[in-house]
Amino acid sequence: MTALHLVWQAAAVLVGGGLLGLVYKGFDRKLAARMQSRIGPPLRQPFLDVGKLLVKESIVPKDAVGWLFKAMPFLAVIASFTVLLYLPWGPFPAILRSGGDAILVLYLLAVPAVAMALGGFASGSPLATVGAQREIVMLMSYEFPLAVAVVGVVWRLATLGGGPAFSLGAIAAAPLWTMVGPLGVIGLAILAACLLIVTPAELSKIPFDIPEAETEIAGGLMVEYSGTYLALFYLADAAKTIAMAALVVTLFAPYGIAGLLGLSGAGGQAVDLLFHLVKIFVVMFAAVTTVRVAMARLKIDQVARGFWLQITAVAVAGLVLLVLDRMVVG
């Protein structure tokens, strides 16, 4: 693979991922509106939003730490788009591959949250400070169950001899469900459920939109951001939504349908890519859209307690089942 080829592919994934993120955001908003018996915005509304933000004035507050305030949106965008490069896209392997990319993706997913928190602290507003504190607490709360779920899956795969350890490409190539015993299936199901619960938290969506909490702290972290900087955070959020849903799909449902349909070659790849995108959409719809219309916002102490105790306990139980499965099945 030539360097030029790599650049071309990376550009396709980044642009495609960004566009897809905005399209999915449009679906999310429209479907949420329909569930709330509203008409909702047109599907292209996220594009209009970004377009408008880009031509708006970008104000840096007088009390803000200017360089930090301005740098953080870029960091968030870069990190969340980089995740897209490390994820396999249905039939296509990830653009960037290395030994431990499952671990790398975990860290990259945390970077936008850290960037938002730093940007919040740097904006010099008490509301943003509260939001930033909450973001950090959130990050510390959901990171452990997230890590348990991801590591559990990749570890079990490695023990089954499924290619290099902690490689997302290997997981996508070898779906685990059929390779493990009954205990393992239960364990995997538990980890998948945990990951679905972590998803809205990772994306700061209701009931976990605590760092932004419009009615409480008027947008929290984002309260001082405007114009281009806000547009960048918006894009980062769109890309991160895709990345998080794609991670769930890659870990737990990396199946294609081209084989079932008897397709091969370019046609098969196209069908599989489309199917992959549909799966991402289903995960987003189930874990983000329906949850955010069905619940009230929780409080930060409730979330922290829930993730540290209940969700972590459940995730560890799933992991233990996988370990037991390893002992039984081998």
Binding site: P126, V130, I206, A296, R297
Partner: protein, 420 residues
């Protein structure tokens, strides 16, 4: 733990997404814990009482309707009660029943409005949209009966301006049936939803003792278990005959805790109570006149000759509202008009309710008393172009001076720049 330098201030308002009307809270916060609050009101002051002194009583009636868009039955009903007492006007029985019907319709729409706002403050927008969707039914009925969704122009001194026509009765019945059928669903959505319960149970507690000593009124007091309802305690119109009982969480089988959850319980049960009252009034309402002064000029002429003072009270959706009025023979305008809105009584309840709660609880606690700033704001002090503060002693002195002027039949407004 002693307060340390970790305590910092968070300003909420006067303009903030959690607030539907302008008021300013300054919270002293330690981490996510609220250690204290300073409340500053007066941002929605429009000088309505003063405006009334330049208008005749009929114009004042319509002005009273514009104190607040949501209480646009409560204020006119209260001022008519006050004026009728001052001038000695009889109200025909049918008009009294009609006033009750209109008041209870207002209570239904106000409580549903509150429920939607509360859901929104919790970040539960689906519930907001659904509640406000079903609220349209009662607004449609009010429009059917009065011609308007708000500002109904229904009460008039001596009666009401519109009757419920026989062909409108099925529509009222349909509305009652609609909400009866829906009530279980509403109770289910608000009181049995785990995420709502997690956000409202044991949040913003007002103990019965605090509610009593701070003179809380309306659902705010009743949620704390106080059996306090003007319709029950000092019956007016036909409420005495209807046998209204103050609703507390006990009616739902709960021991009152005075938290936000209990306030939702009380308000939702009051919707059911209002439905019963409307139905009873609809069937028990006698035939007859709807006003003792069908001709407005005759009413104006009568009021111009009237002399005396009167107090009107009413249980508005938010609690007790009181209007005081003084009339003088030969003068068309009211000499004194004093409005005490329910939020004014409930304002101080915020202080104990906010104590040691979390920042995340601010919007729902602020909303839990169903505050109405435009009803409440009666004064705003400005000194040298900046907001001024009046301390207790001076406020007392000023209040006494005003009472003195009023009792000596002088204008309540100082003539030569005395006082404020």
């Amino acid at each position: 733990m002693a307060e340390t330098q970790n305590v910092y201030e968070i300003p909420i308002g006067p303009i903030h997404p959690a607030l539907k009307e302008p008021i300013r809270f300054t919270f002293r916060v330690e981490g996510e814990r609220i250690r204290g609050v300073d409340i500053r009101a007066g941002f929605a002051h429009r000088g309505i009482e003063f405006m009334a002194m330049k208008r005749n009583l009929i114009q004042t009636l319509y002005l009273s309707e514009r104190i607040c868009g949501i209480c646009s039955i409560s204020h006119p009903i209260t001022i008519t009660l006050a004026v009728e007492r001052a001038a000695g006007i009889e109200v025909p029985p049918r008009a009294q029943y009609l006033r009750v019907i209109y008041s209870e319709l207002e209570r239904i729409h106000s409580h549903l409005l509150w429920a939607g706002v509360a859901a929104h403050e919790l970040g539960f927008d689906t519930l907001l949209h659904l509640t406000w969707k079903v609220r349209e039914q009662v607004l449609d009925l009010l429009e059917e009966l009065s011609g308007n969704r708000i500002d109904y122009a229904l009460p008039i001194y001596g009666g009401v301006r519109r009757d419920v026509a026989p062909e409108q009765i099925p529509k009222v019945e349909a509305m009652v049936r609609y909400y009866r059928g829906l009530l279980d669903e509403l109770l289910d959505a608000f009181l049995r939803d785990p995420s709502v319960e997690a956000r409202t149970r044991n949040v913003g507690i007002l103990t019965p003792k605090e509610a009593d000593s701070l003179c809380a009124v309306g659902p705010t007091a009743r949620a704390s278990g106080l059996s306090k309802d003007v319709r029950q305690d000092r019956p007016y119109l036909v409420y005495g005959e209807l046998g209204v009982k103050a609703i507390t969480p006990r009616d739902y089988g709960l021991e009152p805790r005075g938290d936000v959850y209990d306030k939702a319980v009380v308000r939702l049960l009051e919707v059911a109570q209002s439905l019963d009252l409307i139905e009873t009034c609809l069937y028990e309402m006698p035939e007859g006149e709807i006003t003792s002064f069908p001709k407005i000029p005759a009413l104006l002429a009568f009021l111009k000759k009237a002399e005396g003072e009167g107090l009107g009270w009413h249980e508005a959706p938010r609690g007790e509202v009181i209007h005081y009025i003084r009339l003088e023979a030969g003068v068309e305008e009211p000499i004194v008009w004093k409005v005490k809105a329910p939020t004014y009584s409930n304002l101080m309840s915020w202080v104990p309710m906010f104590r040691d709660q979390e920042v995340a609880d601010i919007p729902i606690i602020a909303a839990s008393i169903d505050p109405c700033m435009c009803c409440m704001d009666r004064v705003h002090v400005v000194r040298d172009g900046s907001p001024g503060t009046v301390l207790k002693e001076e406020l007392l002195r000023l209040s006494r001076a005003k009472t003195d002027r009023v009792t000596r039949h002088l204008s309540p407004v100082p003539r030569h720049g005395g006082g404020l």
